[in-house]
Protein backbone atom coordinates (compact mmCIF):
# COMPACT_ATOMS: atom_id res chain seq x y z
CA UNK A 1 0.00 0.00 0.00
CA UNK A 2 2.71 2.40 1.02
CA UNK A 3 4.66 1.76 -2.13
CA UNK A 4 1.56 2.23 -4.28
CA UNK A 5 0.74 5.48 -2.57
CA UNK A 6 4.30 6.66 -3.01
CA UNK A 7 4.17 5.77 -6.70
CA UNK A 8 0.90 7.66 -7.15
CA UNK A 9 2.41 10.67 -5.39
CA UNK A 10 5.50 10.60 -7.60
CA UNK A 11 3.33 10.31 -10.66
CA UNK A 12 1.32 13.35 -9.66
CA UNK A 13 4.49 15.26 -8.90
CA UNK A 14 5.91 14.33 -12.27
CA UNK A 15 2.77 15.39 -14.09
CA UNK A 16 2.75 18.68 -12.25
CA UNK A 17 6.36 19.37 -13.14
CA UNK A 18 5.68 18.41 -16.73
CA UNK A 19 2.71 20.74 -16.79
CA UNK A 20 4.74 23.67 -15.49
CA UNK A 21 7.53 22.98 -17.94
CA UNK A 22 5.07 22.91 -20.83
CA UNK A 23 3.44 26.11 -19.62
CA UNK A 24 6.78 27.86 -19.37
CA UNK A 25 7.81 26.63 -22.80
CA UNK A 26 4.59 27.96 -24.29
CA UNK A 27 5.09 31.23 -22.45
CA UNK A 28 8.68 31.59 -23.66
CA UNK A 29 7.89 30.78 -27.26
CA UNK A 30 5.01 33.24 -27.00
CA UNK A 31 7.46 35.91 -25.89
CA UNK A 32 9.90 35.02 -28.63
CA UNK A 33 7.18 35.14 -31.25
CA UNK A 34 5.80 38.46 -30.03
CA UNK A 35 8.30 40.24 -32.30
CA UNK A 36 6.58 38.84 -35.36
CA UNK A 37 3.00 39.18 -34.23
CA UNK A 38 0.65 40.00 -37.09
CA UNK A 39 -1.29 43.30 -36.74
CA UNK A 40 -4.71 41.66 -36.58
CA UNK A 41 -3.47 39.13 -34.04
CA UNK A 42 -2.17 41.97 -31.90
CA UNK A 43 -5.50 43.85 -32.06
CA UNK A 44 -7.40 40.69 -31.22
CA UNK A 45 -5.11 39.99 -28.25
CA UNK A 46 -5.45 43.57 -26.92
CA UNK A 47 -9.25 43.62 -27.38
CA UNK A 48 -9.88 40.26 -25.78
CA UNK A 49 -7.51 41.11 -22.94
CA UNK A 50 -9.21 44.42 -22.17
CA UNK A 51 -12.78 43.10 -22.53
CA UNK A 52 -12.05 40.07 -20.34
CA UNK A 53 -10.35 42.19 -17.70
CA UNK A 54 -13.39 44.46 -17.50
CA UNK A 55 -15.85 41.57 -17.36
CA UNK A 56 -13.87 39.94 -14.54
CA UNK A 57 -13.55 43.07 -12.38
CA UNK A 58 -16.49 44.49 -10.51
CA UNK A 59 -14.98 47.95 -10.02
CA UNK A 60 -14.23 48.24 -13.74
CA UNK A 61 -17.72 47.04 -14.65
CA UNK A 62 -19.35 49.62 -12.44
CA UNK A 63 -17.42 52.37 -14.25
CA UNK A 64 -14.61 53.22 -11.79
CA UNK A 65 -12.88 55.89 -13.93
CA UNK A 66 -9.54 55.84 -12.12
CA UNK A 67 -9.21 52.10 -12.62
CA UNK A 68 -10.45 52.25 -16.21
CA UNK A 69 -7.96 55.00 -17.08
CA UNK A 70 -5.18 52.94 -15.48
CA UNK A 71 -6.24 49.92 -17.54
CA UNK A 72 -6.13 51.86 -20.82
CA UNK A 73 -2.78 53.42 -19.86
CA UNK A 74 -1.25 50.08 -19.03
CA UNK A 75 -2.65 47.79 -21.71
CA UNK A 76 -3.44 49.94 -24.74
CA UNK A 77 -1.18 52.98 -24.70
CA UNK A 78 2.12 51.09 -25.14
CA UNK A 79 0.77 50.02 -28.54
CA UNK A 80 -0.21 53.52 -29.66
CA UNK A 81 1.98 56.00 -31.53
CA UNK A 82 0.65 58.99 -29.72
CA UNK A 83 3.02 61.51 -31.20
CA UNK A 84 1.85 60.69 -34.72
CA UNK A 85 -1.78 60.90 -33.64
CA UNK A 86 -1.31 64.35 -32.09
CA UNK A 87 0.78 65.61 -35.01
CA UNK A 88 -1.84 64.70 -37.59
CA UNK A 89 -4.71 66.09 -35.52
CA UNK A 90 -2.82 69.39 -35.10
CA UNK A 91 -2.02 69.49 -38.82
CA UNK A 92 0.55 71.79 -40.49
CA UNK A 93 0.91 73.91 -37.34
CA UNK A 94 2.65 70.96 -35.66
CA UNK A 95 5.89 71.67 -37.51
CA UNK A 96 5.87 75.28 -36.28
CA UNK A 97 5.38 74.24 -32.67
CA UNK A 98 8.34 74.33 -30.28
CA UNK A 99 9.36 70.99 -28.69
CA UNK A 100 7.87 72.29 -25.43
CA UNK A 101 4.53 73.05 -27.14
CA UNK A 102 4.56 69.68 -28.87
CA UNK A 103 5.09 67.92 -25.58
CA UNK A 104 2.28 69.80 -23.85
CA UNK A 105 -0.11 69.23 -26.77
CA UNK A 106 0.68 65.54 -26.70
CA UNK A 107 0.28 65.25 -22.93
CA UNK A 108 -3.06 67.08 -22.80
CA UNK A 109 -4.48 65.30 -25.85
CA UNK A 110 -3.45 61.99 -24.33
CA UNK A 111 -5.27 62.70 -21.07
CA UNK A 112 -8.38 63.67 -23.05
CA UNK A 113 -8.37 60.60 -25.27
CA UNK A 114 -7.51 58.07 -22.59
CA UNK A 115 -10.38 59.38 -20.50
CA UNK A 116 -12.76 59.29 -23.47
CA UNK A 117 -11.74 55.75 -24.32
CA UNK A 118 -12.10 54.70 -20.69
CA UNK A 119 -15.57 56.27 -20.64
CA UNK A 120 -16.56 54.20 -23.66
CA UNK A 121 -15.16 51.05 -22.03
CA UNK A 122 -17.29 51.74 -18.96
CA UNK A 123 -20.26 50.63 -21.09
CA UNK A 124 -18.89 47.15 -21.72
CA UNK A 125 -21.08 44.36 -20.42
CA UNK A 126 -21.36 41.22 -22.51
CA UNK A 127 -19.55 42.38 -25.63
CA UNK A 128 -17.19 40.24 -27.65
CA UNK A 129 -14.84 41.21 -30.44
CA UNK A 130 -15.10 39.71 -33.91
CA UNK A 131 -12.28 40.11 -36.44
CA UNK A 132 -12.92 40.88 -40.09
CA UNK A 133 -10.58 39.43 -42.72
CA UNK A 134 -7.31 41.34 -43.05
CA UNK A 135 -6.48 42.53 -46.53
CA UNK A 136 -2.78 43.27 -46.43
CA UNK A 137 0.38 41.95 -47.97
CA UNK A 138 3.29 40.92 -45.72
CA UNK A 139 5.47 43.88 -46.74
CA UNK A 140 2.86 46.56 -46.02
CA UNK A 141 4.17 49.30 -43.73
CA UNK A 142 0.67 50.45 -42.77
CA UNK A 143 -2.44 48.31 -42.45
CA UNK A 144 -6.11 48.61 -41.64
CA UNK A 145 -7.45 46.12 -39.11
CA UNK A 146 -11.22 45.87 -39.01
CA UNK A 147 -13.17 44.53 -36.07
CA UNK A 148 -16.71 44.47 -34.84
CA UNK A 149 -17.88 44.68 -31.25
CA UNK A 150 -20.87 42.43 -30.81
CA UNK A 151 -23.23 42.49 -27.89
CA UNK A 152 -26.63 43.95 -27.20
CA UNK A 153 -28.09 45.73 -30.23
CA UNK A 154 -26.39 46.30 -33.56
CA UNK A 155 -22.69 45.43 -33.95
CA UNK A 156 -20.31 48.36 -33.54
CA UNK A 157 -17.69 48.87 -36.25
CA UNK A 158 -14.26 49.44 -34.69
CA UNK A 159 -11.27 49.76 -37.04
CA UNK A 160 -7.60 50.52 -36.40
CA UNK A 161 -4.80 51.89 -38.55
CA UNK A 162 -1.42 50.47 -37.62
CA UNK A 163 2.13 51.23 -38.68
CA UNK A 164 5.00 48.78 -38.73
CA UNK A 165 7.60 49.55 -36.09
CA UNK A 166 10.32 46.91 -36.47
CA UNK A 167 12.07 46.12 -33.21
CA UNK A 168 9.67 48.26 -31.17
CA UNK A 169 7.16 46.55 -28.85
CA UNK A 170 5.22 43.92 -30.74
CA UNK A 171 6.18 45.35 -34.12
CA UNK A 172 3.00 47.36 -34.75
CA UNK A 173 1.58 50.54 -33.32
CA UNK A 174 -1.89 52.07 -33.65
CA UNK A 175 -2.04 55.60 -35.08
CA UNK A 176 -5.74 56.09 -35.75
CA UNK A 177 -9.00 54.58 -34.57
CA UNK A 178 -12.41 54.40 -36.22
CA UNK A 179 -15.67 54.04 -34.31
CA UNK A 180 -18.79 53.48 -36.45
CA UNK A 181 -17.08 54.96 -39.48
CA UNK A 182 -15.75 58.00 -37.64
CA UNK A 183 -11.97 58.42 -37.56
CA UNK A 184 -10.75 59.87 -34.28
CA UNK A 185 -7.94 62.04 -35.64
CA UNK A 186 -10.17 63.54 -38.37
CA UNK A 187 -12.82 64.42 -35.79
CA UNK A 188 -10.29 66.54 -33.90
CA UNK A 189 -8.69 68.16 -36.95
CA UNK A 190 -11.15 70.97 -37.52
CA UNK A 191 -11.68 71.58 -33.81
CA UNK A 192 -7.91 72.01 -33.41
CA UNK A 193 -7.64 74.18 -36.53
CA UNK A 194 -10.41 76.39 -35.16
CA UNK A 195 -8.59 76.95 -31.87
CA UNK A 196 -5.22 77.50 -33.55
CA UNK A 197 -6.67 80.06 -35.97
CA UNK A 198 -8.43 81.93 -33.20
CA UNK A 199 -5.91 81.75 -30.35
CA UNK A 200 -2.74 80.13 -31.62
CA UNK A 201 -1.04 76.94 -30.45
CA UNK A 202 -0.90 78.09 -26.85
CA UNK A 203 -4.62 78.79 -27.04
CA UNK A 204 -5.21 75.20 -28.10
CA UNK A 205 -3.09 73.92 -25.23
CA UNK A 206 -5.13 76.02 -22.77
CA UNK A 207 -8.44 74.77 -24.24
CA UNK A 208 -7.31 71.16 -23.98
CA UNK A 209 -6.14 71.52 -20.42
CA UNK A 210 -9.36 73.36 -19.45
CA UNK A 211 -11.38 70.50 -20.94
CA UNK A 212 -9.32 67.99 -18.97
CA UNK A 213 -9.74 69.94 -15.73
CA UNK A 214 -13.51 70.10 -16.23
CA UNK A 215 -13.58 66.35 -16.95
CA UNK A 216 -11.58 65.39 -13.90
CA UNK A 217 -13.90 67.45 -11.71
CA UNK A 218 -16.80 65.34 -12.94
CA UNK A 219 -14.92 62.32 -11.62
Amino acid sequence: MDVLEYKALMKRQFLRTLGWTLLMAVGLSGAAMAEDEAPDVMIKRLSVDVLDTIKADKALRSGDMTKLVALVDERIMPSVNFQRMTASAVGPAWRQATPEQQKRLQDEFKILLVRTYAGALAQVSTQTVAMKPLRASPDDKEVLVRTEIRGVGDPIQLDYRLEKTPGLGTGWRIYNLNVLGVWLVETYKSQFAQEINAKGLDGLIVSLSDRNKANSKKG
Binding site: A93, N197, S207
Partner: protein, 245 residues
Protein backbone atom coordinates in the same frame (compact mmCIF):
# COMPACT_ATOMS: atom_id res chain seq x y z
CA UNK B 1 -51.99 70.35 -39.08
CA UNK B 2 -51.33 71.41 -35.52
CA UNK B 3 -47.97 69.72 -35.75
CA UNK B 4 -47.17 71.80 -38.79
CA UNK B 5 -48.17 74.92 -36.89
CA UNK B 6 -45.82 73.95 -34.10
CA UNK B 7 -43.12 73.32 -36.66
CA UNK B 8 -43.48 76.79 -38.13
CA UNK B 9 -43.37 78.35 -34.69
CA UNK B 10 -40.25 76.35 -33.86
CA UNK B 11 -38.65 77.40 -37.12
CA UNK B 12 -39.39 81.04 -36.26
CA UNK B 13 -37.86 80.63 -32.82
CA UNK B 14 -34.85 78.97 -34.38
CA UNK B 15 -34.41 81.74 -36.90
CA UNK B 16 -34.44 84.20 -34.00
CA UNK B 17 -31.89 82.12 -32.12
CA UNK B 18 -29.86 81.88 -35.30
CA UNK B 19 -29.92 85.65 -35.78
CA UNK B 20 -28.75 86.15 -32.23
CA UNK B 21 -25.85 83.82 -32.93
CA UNK B 22 -25.11 85.59 -36.21
CA UNK B 23 -24.63 88.81 -34.35
CA UNK B 24 -22.34 87.10 -31.89
CA UNK B 25 -20.09 85.70 -34.58
CA UNK B 26 -20.90 87.13 -37.97
CA UNK B 27 -18.02 85.52 -39.81
CA UNK B 28 -16.70 82.02 -39.44
CA UNK B 29 -12.95 82.13 -39.00
CA UNK B 30 -12.11 78.87 -40.68
CA UNK B 31 -14.89 77.96 -43.12
CA UNK B 32 -15.41 74.30 -43.94
CA UNK B 33 -16.47 73.76 -47.57
CA UNK B 34 -18.98 71.14 -46.45
CA UNK B 35 -20.67 73.59 -44.09
CA UNK B 36 -21.43 76.90 -45.86
CA UNK B 37 -24.36 77.58 -43.50
CA UNK B 38 -22.20 77.30 -40.39
CA UNK B 39 -23.39 80.50 -38.69
CA UNK B 40 -27.02 79.54 -39.08
CA UNK B 41 -26.37 75.90 -38.22
CA UNK B 42 -24.60 76.88 -35.01
CA UNK B 43 -27.66 78.87 -33.99
CA UNK B 44 -30.00 75.93 -34.54
CA UNK B 45 -27.52 73.60 -32.86
CA UNK B 46 -27.50 75.81 -29.79
CA UNK B 47 -31.29 75.87 -29.76
CA UNK B 48 -31.51 72.06 -30.07
CA UNK B 49 -28.94 71.65 -27.35
CA UNK B 50 -30.94 73.92 -25.04
CA UNK B 51 -34.14 71.95 -25.73
CA UNK B 52 -32.26 68.72 -25.05
CA UNK B 53 -30.89 69.96 -21.74
CA UNK B 54 -34.22 71.41 -20.61
CA UNK B 55 -36.64 68.70 -21.75
CA UNK B 56 -35.50 65.66 -23.72
CA UNK B 57 -32.52 64.60 -21.62
CA UNK B 58 -34.27 64.91 -18.24
CA UNK B 59 -37.29 62.97 -19.55
CA UNK B 60 -35.05 60.28 -21.04
CA UNK B 61 -33.09 60.05 -17.78
CA UNK B 62 -36.29 59.63 -15.78
CA UNK B 63 -37.52 57.01 -18.26
CA UNK B 64 -34.27 55.08 -17.86
CA UNK B 65 -34.38 55.27 -14.07
CA UNK B 66 -38.05 54.34 -13.71
CA UNK B 67 -38.58 51.54 -16.23
CA UNK B 68 -36.91 48.15 -15.88
CA UNK B 69 -34.37 47.13 -18.52
CA UNK B 70 -36.63 44.46 -20.08
CA UNK B 71 -39.32 47.02 -20.86
CA UNK B 72 -36.81 49.36 -22.48
CA UNK B 73 -35.36 46.47 -24.50
CA UNK B 74 -38.88 45.59 -25.68
CA UNK B 75 -39.61 49.20 -26.65
CA UNK B 76 -36.32 49.48 -28.54
CA UNK B 77 -36.97 46.18 -30.32
CA UNK B 78 -40.48 47.27 -31.29
CA UNK B 79 -39.27 50.45 -33.01
CA UNK B 80 -36.27 48.59 -34.44
CA UNK B 81 -38.68 46.19 -36.13
CA UNK B 82 -40.54 49.09 -37.73
CA UNK B 83 -37.18 50.44 -38.97
CA UNK B 84 -36.46 47.03 -40.51
CA UNK B 85 -39.69 47.27 -42.52
CA UNK B 86 -38.46 50.48 -44.17
CA UNK B 87 -35.04 48.89 -44.66
CA UNK B 88 -36.64 46.07 -46.66
CA UNK B 89 -38.01 48.60 -49.14
CA UNK B 90 -34.78 50.57 -49.42
CA UNK B 91 -32.48 47.57 -49.66
CA UNK B 92 -34.79 46.20 -52.36
CA UNK B 93 -34.66 49.31 -54.55
CA UNK B 94 -30.88 49.33 -54.08
CA UNK B 95 -30.98 45.78 -55.51
CA UNK B 96 -29.20 44.33 -52.52
CA UNK B 97 -30.42 40.74 -52.47
CA UNK B 98 -28.81 39.53 -49.26
CA UNK B 99 -29.64 42.70 -47.30
CA UNK B 100 -33.23 42.66 -48.53
CA UNK B 101 -33.63 38.98 -47.65
CA UNK B 102 -32.12 39.47 -44.20
CA UNK B 103 -34.32 42.48 -43.46
CA UNK B 104 -37.42 40.66 -44.68
CA UNK B 105 -36.55 37.59 -42.62
CA UNK B 106 -36.01 39.78 -39.56
CA UNK B 107 -39.40 41.46 -39.92
CA UNK B 108 -41.24 38.17 -40.47
CA UNK B 109 -39.60 36.40 -37.56
CA UNK B 110 -39.74 39.29 -35.11
CA UNK B 111 -43.31 40.24 -35.93
CA UNK B 112 -44.58 36.68 -35.41
CA UNK B 113 -42.39 34.70 -33.01
CA UNK B 114 -41.08 37.97 -31.55
CA UNK B 115 -44.61 39.04 -30.54
CA UNK B 116 -45.09 42.06 -32.76
CA UNK B 117 -41.44 43.04 -32.65
CA UNK B 118 -41.07 43.20 -28.86
CA UNK B 119 -38.48 40.40 -28.85
CA UNK B 120 -35.57 40.45 -31.28
CA UNK B 121 -35.52 36.74 -32.07
CA UNK B 122 -33.84 37.36 -35.43
CA UNK B 123 -30.67 38.77 -33.84
CA UNK B 124 -30.45 35.70 -31.62
CA UNK B 125 -30.60 33.67 -34.84
CA UNK B 126 -27.73 35.79 -36.19
CA UNK B 127 -29.74 37.42 -38.95
CA UNK B 128 -27.94 40.71 -39.36
CA UNK B 129 -29.70 44.06 -39.42
CA UNK B 130 -29.02 46.25 -42.47
CA UNK B 131 -30.56 49.59 -41.59
CA UNK B 132 -31.35 51.65 -44.65
CA UNK B 133 -33.42 54.71 -45.44
CA UNK B 134 -34.16 56.73 -48.54
CA UNK B 135 -31.39 59.25 -47.86
CA UNK B 136 -28.93 56.37 -47.91
CA UNK B 137 -30.54 54.98 -51.05
CA UNK B 138 -30.02 58.33 -52.80
CA UNK B 139 -26.39 58.32 -51.66
CA UNK B 140 -25.81 54.84 -53.01
CA UNK B 141 -27.45 55.88 -56.28
CA UNK B 142 -24.73 58.51 -56.55
CA UNK B 143 -26.40 61.63 -55.17
CA UNK B 144 -23.84 63.76 -53.33
CA UNK B 145 -24.47 64.81 -49.72
CA UNK B 146 -24.71 68.55 -50.35
CA UNK B 147 -24.21 71.05 -47.54
CA UNK B 148 -24.55 70.17 -43.87
CA UNK B 149 -27.80 71.40 -42.31
CA UNK B 150 -28.90 71.34 -38.70
CA UNK B 151 -32.70 71.16 -38.52
CA UNK B 152 -34.65 72.49 -35.53
CA UNK B 153 -35.43 69.64 -33.10
CA UNK B 154 -34.38 67.01 -35.66
CA UNK B 155 -30.63 67.63 -35.52
CA UNK B 156 -27.81 67.05 -38.04
CA UNK B 157 -28.62 66.37 -41.72
CA UNK B 158 -27.12 66.79 -45.14
CA UNK B 159 -29.19 68.34 -47.90
CA UNK B 160 -29.60 64.89 -49.45
CA UNK B 161 -31.12 63.55 -46.21
CA UNK B 162 -33.41 66.58 -46.00
CA UNK B 163 -34.68 65.94 -49.52
CA UNK B 164 -35.33 62.30 -48.58
CA UNK B 165 -36.96 63.25 -45.28
CA UNK B 166 -40.62 63.46 -46.44
CA UNK B 167 -40.42 59.96 -47.90
CA UNK B 168 -38.56 58.61 -44.88
CA UNK B 169 -41.31 60.06 -42.68
CA UNK B 170 -43.89 58.20 -44.77
CA UNK B 171 -41.80 55.05 -44.48
CA UNK B 172 -41.93 55.22 -40.70
CA UNK B 173 -44.95 53.02 -39.95
CA UNK B 174 -45.77 55.02 -36.82
CA UNK B 175 -46.77 57.89 -39.10
CA UNK B 176 -49.26 55.61 -40.87
CA UNK B 177 -51.38 55.16 -37.74
CA UNK B 178 -54.68 56.98 -38.32
CA UNK B 179 -55.37 57.82 -34.66
CA UNK B 180 -53.50 61.02 -33.84
CA UNK B 181 -53.24 60.34 -30.12
CA UNK B 182 -51.61 56.94 -30.63
CA UNK B 183 -49.35 58.35 -33.33
CA UNK B 184 -48.09 61.20 -31.16
CA UNK B 185 -47.72 58.94 -28.14
CA UNK B 186 -45.63 56.42 -30.02
CA UNK B 187 -43.48 59.15 -31.60
CA UNK B 188 -42.74 60.62 -28.18
CA UNK B 189 -41.95 57.16 -26.78
CA UNK B 190 -39.62 56.50 -29.73
CA UNK B 191 -37.73 59.76 -29.19
CA UNK B 192 -37.45 59.25 -25.42
CA UNK B 193 -36.30 55.65 -25.86
CA UNK B 194 -33.66 56.60 -28.44
CA UNK B 195 -32.37 59.42 -26.26
CA UNK B 196 -32.22 57.07 -23.28
CA UNK B 197 -30.09 54.66 -25.28
CA UNK B 198 -27.61 57.46 -26.01
CA UNK B 199 -27.42 58.98 -22.52
CA UNK B 200 -24.02 57.54 -21.70
CA UNK B 201 -22.65 58.00 -25.21
CA UNK B 202 -23.77 61.63 -24.95
CA UNK B 203 -21.77 62.04 -21.78
CA UNK B 204 -18.69 60.61 -23.47
CA UNK B 205 -19.03 63.13 -26.33
CA UNK B 206 -19.61 65.92 -23.83
CA UNK B 207 -16.28 65.09 -22.20
CA UNK B 208 -14.39 64.50 -25.43
CA UNK B 209 -15.32 67.57 -27.48
CA UNK B 210 -13.50 70.89 -27.49
CA UNK B 211 -16.28 72.31 -29.65
CA UNK B 212 -19.39 70.16 -29.56
CA UNK B 213 -20.70 71.65 -32.81
CA UNK B 214 -17.63 70.75 -34.88
CA UNK B 215 -17.29 67.42 -33.15
CA UNK B 216 -20.89 66.48 -33.98
CA UNK B 217 -20.67 67.76 -37.54
CA UNK B 218 -17.41 66.02 -38.39
CA UNK B 219 -18.56 62.75 -36.85
CA UNK B 220 -21.93 62.90 -38.57
CA UNK B 221 -20.50 63.64 -42.04
CA UNK B 222 -17.91 60.89 -41.73
CA UNK B 223 -20.51 58.45 -40.50
CA UNK B 224 -22.90 59.18 -43.38
CA UNK B 225 -20.12 58.82 -45.92
CA UNK B 226 -19.10 55.55 -44.31
CA UNK B 227 -22.64 54.20 -44.62
CA UNK B 228 -22.93 55.16 -48.29
CA UNK B 229 -19.67 53.31 -49.02
CA UNK B 230 -20.66 50.35 -46.86
CA UNK B 231 -17.90 50.77 -44.30
CA UNK B 232 -15.18 51.14 -46.99
CA UNK B 233 -15.08 54.81 -48.03
CA UNK B 234 -12.26 55.76 -50.42
CA UNK B 235 -9.51 57.91 -48.92
CA UNK B 236 -10.31 61.59 -49.10
CA UNK B 237 -8.23 64.67 -48.74
CA UNK B 238 -8.92 65.42 -45.10
CA UNK B 239 -6.55 68.36 -44.88
CA UNK B 240 -9.18 70.90 -45.87
CA UNK B 241 -9.41 73.87 -43.61
CA UNK B 242 -6.16 73.23 -41.81
CA UNK B 243 -3.88 74.92 -44.31
CA UNK B 244 -5.96 78.00 -45.10
CA UNK B 245 -4.11 80.54 -43.09
Amino acid sequence: MTLQGAGVRCARLTVLAGLAMLQACATVANPDPRDPLESFNRGVFGFNDAVDRAVVKPVATAYRDITPQWIRTGVGNFFGNLTDVWSVFNNAIQLRGQDTGDSMGRVMINTTIGLGGLIDVASDLNIERHTSDFGLTLGRWGVGPGPYIVLPLLGPYTLREVVALPLDQQGNLVNQIPDEGTRTGLTVLNVVDLRAQYLRAGEVVEGAALDKYSFTRDSYLQRQRNRVYDGNPPEEDTDFGTDTK
